[in-house]
Symmetry: C2
Subunit: 345 residues, 2 copies
Amino acid sequence: MIDKNSENDAKFMRLALKEAEKGIGLTSPNPTVGCIIVKKGKIIGRGYHRRAGGPHAEIEAIRSAKGKPLKGATIYITLEPCSTYGKTPPCVEAIIKSEMARVVYGVKDPDFRHQDKAKRLLKKQGIKVTTEILSEDCQRLIRPFAKRVQTGLPWVIVKAGMSLDGRLTRPGKEGQWITNDQSLKDVQRLRAEVDAIIVGAGTLKKDDPSLTIRETKLLKKRNKLPKRVVLTRKSKLSKASKIFTDQFKDNTLIYSNKSLKAVLKDLAKRHQCNSVMIEGGGRLIGDAFKRELVDELCLYYAPIICGENCKPLADAALNASKRLSEISLKAFGDNYRIRGLVAKE
Amino acid sequence: MIDKNSENDAKFMRLALKEAEKGIGLTSPNPTVGCIIVKKGKIIGRGYHRRAGGPHAEIEAIRSAKGKPLKGATIYITLEPCSTYGKTPPCVEAIIKSEMARVVYGVKDPDFRHQDKAKRLLKKQGIKVTTEILSEDCQRLIRPFAKRVQTGLPWVIVKAGMSLDGRLTRPGKEGQWITNDQSLKDVQRLRAEVDAIIVGAGTLKKDDPSLTIRETKLLKKRNKLPKRVVLTRKSKLSKASKIFTDQFKDNTLIYSNKSLKAVLKDLAKRHQCNSVMIEGGGRLIGDAFKRELVDELCLYYAPIICGENCKPLADAALNASKRLSEISLKAFGDNYRIRGLVAKE
């Protein structure tokens, strides 16, 4: 008997999504994927993709079943299973071999070369295939991967801590910090979800940031830290900067006199970045908006007004305003975070 | 038997606050006040101050009891009752005459000349007096009145509709509107709470605003509209502007070459304004911040980024950032309103 009803499908896919989320920030250049195996209404396997080169989520789930017979089972995967030999044998082969009866996945492979291939191969073997279950959530999960394979550019998040009047700096000698500890902690969580953090030379000079993940809880399961990337027009950067001298200095990249787009392309291609986060300053952020390179915006507002002698968020003249969609709001003490996607024209 | 316990006191004071709220925006130069009369645990009278020159809340409440004997009753008032002859005889006199046994009020009269006078007079007559019940809420209600009588300046709210990067205008030919209909509707409610709306000559020229209350529900019980005030450096203003030509044109004031502080003083003194709202533009708002004249901030954010060629919220260099307290956040569709008090140095 095959388990088949849409309510159960959504329920198990939600659990597969939960599995996938464990891998966010760890899998590039691969997508984050989660998987649940169900037999007679009972979960007998679960897994997620932990790192590039490691077993895919489907294989993790099959292994977690510890030899229990999978014949007749249903496998829930957030993403269409792979059908080609990469660093590992294709999951489609493993699914067929295990004699599972049904495959449910959330979204198609965004790589046009492989799209729907798994579906055809599985159906040919008499395996039932259901797709588009919680597809929006599953799509959101692979957004960075999908953008890279489809455009050659990483998913670009702009993050900034700012005043209510949109200023990145404070007047006079008030110091560099605008947002509160809770916001800064959230930034750590964001950093743990991306493959690179980009700043301009001005920010390096002004703030001398570490651009690292300091929360030990976030560090625990990571096998790598996000790249730290500095963009500069002149070649002179202070050699004493933290990112050039600390224990992670080999993780720092410098790009001189390159356009932001060229840098992003290189990060996607050579450094396998699915996602990057631009952390300022205003010139770099303004440039990113001007050149339509921003996918997502994450702004932390502190309850202060700084005035017009302080640096603005987007220090560039724009031909048209950029509109956000899928906006979410969260309070961090007396700070507010507004997050949303930048609508494409 | 006198009703006396702190739980009931808070309960009835809350109802008195509810009464008072009905008068917000209608009573200047008087404060908004609400009143409840309770006998043997039952409410037998209620009222609020409806307009300057009209009966005070206490008298409204006494009248609403319609001759029921008030002897032994407790009267709850959000503000210390008046003890001097103004446009009406003092409420203290009416309370004594009615033989009520107990007076509970939220906060003292902020006018130092009258403070605690009612308390003394009532006690002298053997009437029990309890004060400081829900005093924070009661104080909030008379904030504008208290500021005027104590400083000679009105309570100043800065309101702005802006982009996420703190811009009051949009790029190129995108038009003047930034915020959505729900935000604009809320601005109408705000206008109905203040005694004057102030704009700079630039805003008049650029937007030609009506600065009126259009919602009929808000207009219904009003006996006057907020004054419309234009500040100008040069004397030339377009005579065709709506505020000079529409049916409320007599309600418009022009101040030429006066400092903002001088204008505020004049509005408080000559035009009996307890509260005013500055609606822009950035120069005027920047000036208000620079001169420490802002009490409250009400910002509506639309989910767009406009860039640095657009006008900033606070178009003035500030020596120090201004910090907000008592911050509240509200969503209006995809717009957000952040409201808070400007901390005094």
